[in-house]
């Protein structure tokens, strides 16, 4: 039976197709991502100047609306906004006070009444950023800084930036994502970004409870055997084991995870020569990878943080700089 379906318009674009929110990488065109990465590259040396500020967003007000704890993401967004000369309002709303009654949209409406220009939202529930963007339309822009297990587009963009900047063209590199892919918004967004930029092979590795075969629907090759998965890999992306997101333990222990899938110098030798290690942080040393590797030359983990700042400046410039 042919059933008539609603045109599912992309909620991060306006009627003319212009990107007016950044909610997910799904549906972005390669040129749009490359433009963001190129803009980020132009901001990269700003940090080494004495005056680390440009007036691009002077007079704009941006709200950092964080319903979930974050160190890196919140502080890099704040710094990115300030380096672009925007005013930043930090709202860290402990998840307990969400239940006091005011809904996300009511909170936002109150902030909107204070004439703010855009929101950076982190929320523990998937779809929160979409809900907000649908509510706001073009009144204010929204950047998704992580929604539940759904998406974390700026993290993925900074990862793509790091690979492109320090490793080489993405369409020539094999990437392996290790760990809790099932519960990871970082992995979902990264897989989408890598696909859009033509990564020839995206592999995922972990126990079946965290890396189920159904992940092939996301366009990845699923591995349960570490030796096969590591062979010929250029980029190793270790995900954080997030015990707090698992309602039933899908692993006997983190030690056992480390024994089977943790990155060690021995395992790295199975990958392509010169393979690098990325991690979205915060890291569990001795679980996802050994300290030896985390502090070694192959780890680009701190570069990711530096790039995150430039990349978030590029995103804010793109969304806030375009209008009004």
């Amino acid at each position: 039976m042919k059933t008539w379906r609603m045109g599912s318009g992309d909620p991060q674009r306006n009627a003319q197709g212009r990107l007016c929110h950044l909610l997910t990488l799904e549906g972005l065109r390669d040129v749009e991502i490359i433009e963001l990465l190129d803009t980020a590259a132009s901001f990269l040396d700003l940090g080494s100047r004495t005056v680390k500020k440009i007036p691009l967003l002077r007079g704009r007000t941006i709200v950092n609306l964080f319903y979930e704890n974050s160190t890196r993401t919140r502080s890099t967004f704040e710094l990115a906004a300030k380096r672009l000369s925007a005013d930043v309002l930090n709202m860290a709303i402990a998840s307990s006070s969400v239940n006091k009654g005011e809904t996300l949209l009511d909170t936002v409406d109150n902030l909107l009444a204070m004439q703010v220009d855009g929101f950076i939202l982190r929320h523990s529930e998937a779809g929160a950023a979409h809900l907000l963007a649908r509510h706001l339309g073009e009144q204010a822009w929204v950047v998704n800084a992580g929604d539940g297990q759904h998406a974390h587009p700026t993290q993925a963009l900074l990862d793509l930036f790091t690979i492109r900047h320090l490793v080489g063209p993405i369409h020539e590199r094999v990437v392996l994502i290790l760990g809790d892919v099932l519960h990871s918004r970082v992995a979902r967004s990264l897989i989408q970004g890598l696909s859009i930029l033509g990564c020839p092979q995206i592999r995922v590795l972990g126990p079946r409870t965290l890396v189920p075969p159904e992940l092939v629907h996301l366009g990845v090759h699923v591995f349960q055997d570490d030796r096969a998965a590591l062979e010929g890999v250029d980029v190793l992306y270790a995900l954080r084991m997030q015990k707090e997101r698992m309602d039933v333990q899908p692993l006997p222990s983190l030690e056992e995870y480390h024994r089977r899938f943790g990155l060690t110098p021995e395992r790295i030798r199975l990958a392509a020569p010169g393979a690098v290690i990325l991690h979205p942080g915060p890291m569990n040393r001795g679980v996802e990878l050994t300290s030896e590797l985390a502090d070694g030359p192959q780890a680009l983990i701190l570069d990711q943080v530096t790039h995150g700042l430039a990349l978030r400046m590029a995103v804010l410039a793109r969304l806030a700089g375009g209008s009004g």
Binding site: M1, K2, T3, W4, R5, M6, S8, P11, L23, E26, T103, L104, L105, D106, H123, E125, A126, G127, A128, H130, L131, H135, D147, G148, Q149, H150, A151, L182, H183, R185, R188, E214, L215, H217, L218, D247, V248
Partner: protein, 426 residues
């Protein structure tokens, strides 16, 4: 109270109870269908031209949430019965998942009082099988029968403890009412908010595997088989679960099942980017499963269709997908949605109408509605060709509607209950 004596001339008469589909005249008088050959014409007070229209028995809804008792913001008996009337229903069975739960005779007395006060449709009551629907201890089923319960029901709650289920079914068997179960392995379903599949994976939402329903059906069937209870699954979503019910019926077990129109018309993919209008329980499943449900409908494996009417008001619109409550409240669009199945060639018109009339009546042990002289004048007059494009609900307080913008056909023109005109399309 019994309405005007009406003569409806030249109308297509569809009477699924007798397989009748023919052009003819209908007379409604004294609350009943009358024989047009013998009814004295001088007593007719109004004549209607049936050209281009069809008449069929009014529908029966087996899963109807009117939030009575309840808060009121999500609808009440007044708003939701009007929505049901606009959907062509003359009879509804109230679900017991009200607030408070219908597990005490006082709740049923109050529902009866309010239903009589509305006086719009025939309202049947169901009683919670277990206290607070928690599946832990039996309600006072005997007292609830005395208070007017026509079915025992678990609404949208499973009974995790198999021993409690067994006791409940055995106890209910003596009281001879059908038992409506929500079959699900609740530990496997866990906190899933949509079907487990590519869409839940893409959106990072917790999935509710279809296997949870299949295991639930298998268990409930086995336990019921020895209990003597007549059971009904009011909203199955898995084609494999329906096949198990069909096999049990073939073995002679007293079991029936219904499927909601939503599961026949919508699928998990429609959730798109977290559209809460599509959040329902059991969840919308894959396209493959939906197509199997349509085949099951065509093969006669489904005993009734339901709108699974579960309205939620506008307070819930700002919720994320996980926070939003389960349920779709679109009973007032039932006719164009059901006719869609006919237009798409899934089943013929008499079959679809039978699943909204004969099927639910048998499940509830009600008189099978038909259009023969002497039967109560509960009937719909429908214009099958009128274009209908659903928008916001007009009657129900349900704020969302997943069918907005669908190009549909089929408009209820008149609904008669006991010969009274209770709905007239403007």
């Amino acid at each position: 109270m019994e309405g005007l004596a009406r003569y409806i001339r030249g109308i297509r008469i569809l009477d699924p109870a007798h397989g009748r589909d023919e052009l003819g005249d209908l007379v409604l008088a004294q609350g009943c269908i009358q024989d047009p050959q013998t009814f004295p014409l001088d007593q007719i007070q109004e004549e209607l031209d049936g050209k281009g229209l069809f008449a069929c028995p009014a529908f029966i809804e087996t899963s109807f949430q009117a939030h009575t008792p309840g808060h009121g913001r999500d609808g009440d008996l007044g708003s939701e019965l009007r929505a049901a009337a606009a959907g062509g229903f003359a009879q509804v069975l109230l679900r017991p998942d009200t607030n408070p739960v219908a597990d005490h005779p006082g709740v049923l007395w109050e529902q009866r009082r309010l239903a009589d006060q509305e006086g719009l449709l025939r309202v049947h009551l169901s009683a919670a099988l277990t206290h607070a629907l928690a599946g832990e201890s039996l309600s006072e089923l005997g007292r609830l029968v005395d208070a007017g319960a026509r079915a025992f029901s678990q609404a949208l709650q499973g009974i995790p403890n198999s021993r409690i289920l067994r006791l409940a079914l055995e106890y209910a068997a003596d009281l001879r009412l059908p038992v409506f179960l929500f079959p699900e392995d609740s530990t496997l379903a866990a906190h899933g908010v949509m079907d487990e599949g590519p869409t839940s994976l893409r959106l990072g939402l917790a999935g509710r595997p279809m296997a949870a329903e299949e295991i639930g059906v298998e268990r409930d069937l086995r336990i019921a088989a020895n209990s003597g209870a007549r059971i009904h699954f009011p909203h199955l979503s898995s084609a494999a679960a329906i096949a198990r019910v069909a096999a049990a019926r073939h073995r002679g077990q007293a079991v029936s099942c219904a499927v909601s129109l939503h599961h026949l018309l919508l699928q998990d993919h429609d959730v798109g980017y977290f559209q809460t209008a599509f959040k329902t329980l059991p969840p919308l499943r894959s396209q493959t499963n939906r197509e199997a449900l349509l085949r099951a409908l065509a093969n006669g494996a489904i005993q009734a269709l339901t709108s699974a009417h579960t309205p939620w008001g506008r307070d819930w619109k700002g919720m994320t997908f996980a926070q939003a409550p389960f349920g779709i409240g679109t009973i007032e669009w039932t006719i164009p949605l059901a006719l869609r199945l006919v237009q798409e060639g899934v089943a013929d018109l008499l079959t679809v109408l039978g699943l909204l009339t004969v099927g639910p009546a048998r499940i509830l042990g009600l008189a099978v509605p038909d259009l023969r002289p002497g039967s109560p004048a509960d009937l719909c007059i429908i214009d099958p060709d009128a274009a209908v494009i659903p928008a916001s609900n007009r009657w129900s307080r349900a704020y969302q509607n997943p069918y907005v913008g669908w190009p549909l056909q089929g408009q209820l023109r008149y609904l008669f209950v006991d010969g009274r005109l209770v709905y007239l399309h403007p």
